[in-house]
Symmetry: C2
Subunit: 545 residues, 2 copies
Amino acid sequence: MISQLQKARSAYQPKVPAAIEGATKLAEGKATQSVADQEDIKKLFPNTYGMPIVTFEKATGETKTEAFNVGIILSGGQAPGGHNVISGIFDGIKKLNKDSKLYGFLGGPSGLVDHKYIELTSEIVDEYRNTGGFDIIGSGRTKLEEVEQFDKGLEICKKLNIKAIIIIGGDDSNTNACVLAEYYLAKNTGVQVIGCPKTIDGDLKNEMIETSFGFDTATKVYSEVIGNIERDANSAKKYWHFIKLMGRSASHVTLECALQTQPNVTLIGEEVEAKNQSLDDVVTYIAEAVAARAAKGLNFGTVLVPEGLIEFIPAIKKLIAELNDMLAANQAEFDTVAADKKIDYVVSKLSKENAELFKSLPTTVSTQLALERDPHGNVQVSLIETEQLLAEMVAKKLAAWKKEGKFVGKFATQHHFFGYEGRCAAPSNFDADYCYSLGRVAALLIASGKTGYMSSVRNTTKPAAEWLAGGIPITAMMNMEKRNGKMKPVIQKALVKLDGGPFKFFASKRAEWAIETAFVYPGPIQYFGPTEVCDQPTKTLVLEH
Amino acid sequence: MISQLQKARSAYQPKVPAAIEGATKLAEGKATQSVADQEDIKKLFPNTYGMPIVTFEKATGETKTEAFNVGIILSGGQAPGGHNVISGIFDGIKKLNKDSKLYGFLGGPSGLVDHKYIELTSEIVDEYRNTGGFDIIGSGRTKLEEVEQFDKGLEICKKLNIKAIIIIGGDDSNTNACVLAEYYLAKNTGVQVIGCPKTIDGDLKNEMIETSFGFDTATKVYSEVIGNIERDANSAKKYWHFIKLMGRSASHVTLECALQTQPNVTLIGEEVEAKNQSLDDVVTYIAEAVAARAAKGLNFGTVLVPEGLIEFIPAIKKLIAELNDMLAANQAEFDTVAADKKIDYVVSKLSKENAELFKSLPTTVSTQLALERDPHGNVQVSLIETEQLLAEMVAKKLAAWKKEGKFVGKFATQHHFFGYEGRCAAPSNFDADYCYSLGRVAALLIASGKTGYMSSVRNTTKPAAEWLAGGIPITAMMNMEKRNGKMKPVIQKALVKLDGGPFKFFASKRAEWAIETAFVYPGPIQYFGPTEVCDQPTKTLVLEH
């Protein structure tokens, strides 16, 4: 059984750039360079380095090719629109030749290595048009990094006569797509590899990739429920709501939701790190907003917190590093310590500075840090319920201020975490169009014989007809970074830029938003209404372009 | 600043029953009886007992009256559509006479008592049409129960020349509205009191009140995010999501969301109580579904849990009662017990049966029950994170079953709680129309000189034009119940009926939903699309009528 909305949406025909509606021709730009470490990257990618940016332009007549087969892989966490990338690829290769075939590797990259796949027929693809989720073939987190994996993949490509693999993933998956492209090209296998930029985190973007797909829909779902909570706060007038949002390594999601909903306090990890703020600095900043509103009789508000906040605080980063080292060095002794003495033991072994910080944490957090470790023996930062931690510490500070007469109000809290609510939402019109276009462009890149390219659709703040379609060499986005102690070529992750348009706009407004009740209630994603309601890109995108 | 959707929605003109579009005449039915305890209720409400159900019918010409003033009160928790009740009342009284005035008492019933109010002009009302929240005048939880409050209210009514008060609230607030109506009538004050059925919990309904407003929108918001989580579960295939939903005294919200989204496991408090299930029965039931799916290779799923589940389990109810009594009797001694010995102390003082149950609870829960008490010294059941408690206990059971070979899978969990996300959402078309109609009908009831009535709009599974408009004597919904040790006249709370249409349909499907992946993804509320997407009532309403 499918819902009425899903039924109605299945008829939606996503918009594509006018340039690729009919026949196309390829325009090649000039040679590219990697964003940094050019010599190293060039050495590692001798065959796929320096290729030109390419653009598809309108041509006359009809573009037809030989039939060819394509294999696709969904890699990593879900993002709204993945199914539309697939339907775009399907329609794209069928337009070029109706006998072309699409194979889907099951359960992520491991499907390629283990030869688990299905043919994606029109019956299957039609069922998933404009739907959320990655359930059409499933996703997975296996990393394609080893030559044995590449060779196993080649076997199945040869068997199925696959001309190209398309990897739909985030920065790491696209890095690996390029490594695979280079390997297959160096070995002259004839198998091309194309990447597609996916992640709700919004941290796969650069000069040429304006946004990763899924970011638009996910942030709109989060903004809907944040807006609803804000309206509740403003009606009940008795709670401060602490809301944590997905995004461990970058705060784009939190920033976009702040631009959409204008909460009282928004923490941006990149700023906390750049300003070398301590946990106490962060707590004081929130408490000041609470106290300022309380002075106006407003004992309610909203605070947005990015999931990765804790790891952005330099002092906490140091504490965690010392904890990991200390526990590894003293594991045997630590195991013999009685449960109720473990915290004291940890304190006794830490440097003075870190011991002080550790003691200042609420006991739920210090206990969790001391006692729970992941399979590699590391403390599990991701388990810290940051939104609760902050609420507790703010409460403590306000209680102290109350005694000093610096705070004259009430402080009651609720907390929320939004992540899974948005990753598999049905794509917004923007993501439905953008993803479908990315898929259509990927098909054209394959037909043009390209490999090591990422499918690219630009000019996305304009109506879809004006979008620009093309491909960007993945090596052009790379630099060298240390991973597990070794220098590796990777796509540079896009963090929130403190001198970028979105952050600067936010920074110019936040003092007002902190004290006033300037909430905005975006409401649910609409598909059928006026274009200013249904077809807006994110505020981040608009402020960046 | 308002969002684009809010701007577009402000132009929406809610639909009303055809019968009240133009002139109306009043048709009186036969005398009513209270649902039970007729003698007692009649004695307590000599002036408002036994009145007839009334219906508004189309008349010719134009209905005009003298100008009159109305005061409104929003009482208790927010529910989507409250602002539309107000705009309906506003338009209703202005249609009858353009010089009529609407006053809003601020911050709930206390506004009436403390004489805090504003005049609701067209500028103010227009700003709030079709929006969520109660922020237009705020809400509050003060109970109108004392004669002093009634007399203070009368003062301001006389001062503002208010002909009638409309109380928008749940079962308790409407009970109090009737007590107030009776008092004002007995004292011949000339001030009428009308109630409106509000609560997202859905537990204010009966033969004549088909649904309380807000239930439609709130359950659709929850179903949207539950559906998104289900799609994520079905894509990632690695988590069981435990989702708690608002609703402490009834499980209508959970049942409706289950009907919308078809999760694997749904717990209904009323059934747990009726079957006298233990916590272990509930845990076993969930674990069996997990094990059955694991046997098919499906290590993921969704479980819906009503907020009040714990209090529906008879054994837990007994444990809590004994804990409250025991702690009250031994408070002084308990306070002297060392923190790490308090649990042992509690166990030593409980009856054998309850001590066993107490010891079987995860330590987080037993600690919370033993150590945290509300201002009245009672254990705080509402603080128990039921979704986490169940996830932990299911994990424990599955670990035991794994050893016995009864479970052959993985069990990893995520948990969520949805409540504040839905209470202040912008009303669905249904709630926008239903609430506006309730307001228009309330205005007509006042003009007809009625008091002690609840505004009623029926036949709501049909298009709005066919809805029936009228009023139901509040006493007809009452019975006597024990509250704080005393028998009180109250509106009978509507629990989930195990022999009702919605539960029976659910019960006929749940075995299949448990094992198959039969998820349905409703998606976000739509306002502008095809009517089968935008204008559907809840499944509960359809299955009941």
